[in-house]
């Protein structure tokens, strides 16, 4: 598969603090790639490095299979950390500067992106008069301007209200359907789970895992069961084959099996043979949230 962004052993330290440790990552073309990690895990540092805002201490990266250049950045619509605009200029004038620097879009395209982020009515107001949510919308408009091949969005829903968050999620889905590669850093796991095809998890500067969402999440099968006699059920699970671990919560038992092993019929049969009738049998997909906590908790 064609690669849009490739990182090889990228490291970065701020004096004593190691913000990124030997991170290697490959982002395939057309993917919606979520970069997850708790605060201070190195997400923004990583994005800053690939946008040439920060220099890496070690390692290399490439955009579109080429060494990074300013021209490569022109093909990427980016929102890094905060909306960065000239306070005394209007939305339109700010986007004219974005357009002139990146070579993406024209006056008509500016109007279109302002319409998408619902800023048309305030397009002539100075940036300094905008609310936090409006500033964020303008930053998204700047990233979208002129249909870039890649979108790199660092916490794009920051400061947005619930409706705004939903709109951005829908927008990202629409763009992904058009084949645009979207790299999105977030700590909103629900957000990422809903829209991403691939995911990478960072913790204290180290990459813990990365790959397609299904692969990252499906290293275990989880089956949730319950019965009237929970005591007997608990006792019979001890004899069940291939069980990795068992958790009990809220009158339900979660059984973890190796990936691809769990079979609902045989579990049901097994319990029935032991004289237990199940009143719940559920093959649960592992939630990104639980995977995230599993990986990032000490």
């Amino acid at each position: 598969m064609e690669t849009v962004l490739q990182l090889d052993g990228v490291s970065k330290a701020y004096k004593q603090v190691k913000a990124l440790k030997q991170v290697s990552l490959s982002i395939p073309k057309g993917s919606v790639f979520g970069i997850l990690g708790p605060n201070g895990s190195g997400k923004t540092t990583m994005m800053s490095i690939v946008l040439d805002v920060l220099g890496a201490d070690a390692g290399t990266y490439s955009w579109f299979n080429q060494p990074p250049t300013a021209d490569a950045r022109k093909r990427i619509g980016s929102l890094l950390e905060t909306p960065n605009f000239y306070h005394y200029l209007s939305a339109v004038d700010n986007l004219k500067i974005t357009s002139a620097i990146s070579g993406r879009g024209n006056d008509q395209a500016i109007d279109e992106v302002l319409e998408i982020v619902k800023l048309t009515e305030r397009k002539k107001s100075k940036f300094s008069t905008y609310s936090l949510g409006m500033k964020q919308r303008l930053a998204i408009a700047g990233a979208l301007l002129g249909n870039p091949e890649v979108l790199l969005l660092d916490e794009p829903t920051n400061g947005l209200d619930p409706v705004g968050i939903l709109e951005i999620r829908e927008l990202i889905k629409r763009l992904a359907d058009r084949g645009i590669t979207i790299i999105i850093a977030s700590h909103l796991l629900d957000e990422v789970e809903k829209i991403c095809t691939h995911v990478a998890i960072l913790k204290r500067g180290s990459l813990l895992t990365s790959g397609p969402v299904d692969e990252v999440l499906s290293n275990e099968d989880i089956v949730e069961i319950a019965a009237a006699d929970m005591h007997a059920l608990r006792a019979c699970i001890g004899d069940m084959p291939n069980v990795l671990s068992v958790k009990e919560d809220n009158h339900r038992i979660q059984i973890h099996f190796p990936s691809g092993i769990a079979n609902m019929e045989s579990i049901n049969q097994f319990c029935f043979n032991k004289g237990i009738t199940l009143n719940l049998l559920l093959h649960k997909k592992q939630r990104l949230e639980s995977k995230f906590f599993e990986l990032t908790n000490d």
């Binding site: 946008l51 040439d52 805002v53 920060l54 220099g55 000239y86 306070h87 005394y88 620097i101």
Partner: protein, 275 residues
């Protein structure tokens, strides 16, 4: 180059401080020169012997071609005004974090610094244009009969530009390295108005002849005092003529200093983390 200029103009043309600076410069340059012109006319307008002597000694510093020299000298006192704007323009980029955004959007580090070089050049050019108009107006107003000599001292126009550009480059370097507008401005004012003047006075008192190499003195000495100051005795004449012969060297040193300043800016910016 053309695109960088266009983008910088987009940033500057709606920046209120730019128009304020321009308005103040357009008021200040004519005012300071008019003040000296009034002093000159009050000395020379009478029919007394002293008035005639004054006229003989001073000539008419505001008539062509001397006006280009005189107006350049007095106007150059006010480099502080555009310096404030230059410092604001670079520290704004930090303040708005657009120094990052411009790179993210697709400029190279070199293009960003090139755009700032263009900013300083634009402001120097605007200030030079105001100076030129003021000098022309005084020339026409002070002695219309001398208009035929308009072309004799036009070299003061590029010399005024060079001095302004050199001194604004120092202001830029401070703003670029310090990042905070008020601190950079404070350092600039303190050095320009206090430190260097004390240094000059002290070094002259100690007869250590290196004052002309100090950061502002090096370009201050491009525009020597108006010609009439050389008419007050032998020492003054020798001093004026020596200063005049050194102008060529001062131009070269100023160019070297300014090139070094910009090399530092470009080099630092090529490696610096844009925090």
């Amino acid at each position: 180059m053309g695109l960088l200029l266009k983008i910088e103009w987009l940033k500057i043309k709606k920046y209120p401080a730019f128009w304020w600076m321009l308005a103040i410069v357009m008021l200040t340059y004519p005012s300071i020169n008019y003040m000296f012109y009034n002093v000159y006319t009050s000395f020379t307008k009478g029919k007394e012997m002293t008035n005639n002597i004054a006229k003989m000694l001073l000539g008419n510093p505001f008539a062509f071609p001397e006006t280009f020299h005189t107006v350049a000298y007095f106007s150059s006192f006010f480099v502080l005004l555009p310096a404030i704007l230059v410092i604001m323009l670079i520290t704004n980029e930090y303040n708005y974090r657009t120094h990052k955004q411009n790179i993210i959007d697709g400029w190279s580090r070199k293009e960003f610094m090139g755009s700032k070089l263009i900013d300083v050049a634009i402001i120097s050019f605007v200030v030079m244009t105001v100076y030129m108009l003021v000098a022309l107006s005084f020339g026409i107003y002070a002695d219309p009969d001398n208009i035929g000599r308009i072309g004799e001292q036009l070299h003061y126009i590029p010399m005024f530009f060079l001095q302004t550009f050199a001194q604004l480059s120092i202001a830029f370097l401070l703003g670029y390295l310090v990042k905070k507008a008020f601190i950079a401005l404070g350092i600039f004012l303190f050095y320009y108005l206090v430190v260097e003047n004390i240094l000059v006075a002290y070094l002259k008192y100690k007869k250590i002849a290196i004052t002309r190499f100090l950061p502002f003195e090096v370009s201050d000495n491009i525009l020597v005092t108006p010609a009439f100051t050389g008419n007050f005795g032998k020492d003054a004449k020798e001093g004026y003529e020596l200063a005049l012969t050194l102008v060529g060297e001062q131009v070269i040193y100023t160019c070297i200093y300014t090139i070094i300043i910009w090399i530092i800016c470009f080099k630092v910016h090529s490696k610096r983390d844009l925090a």
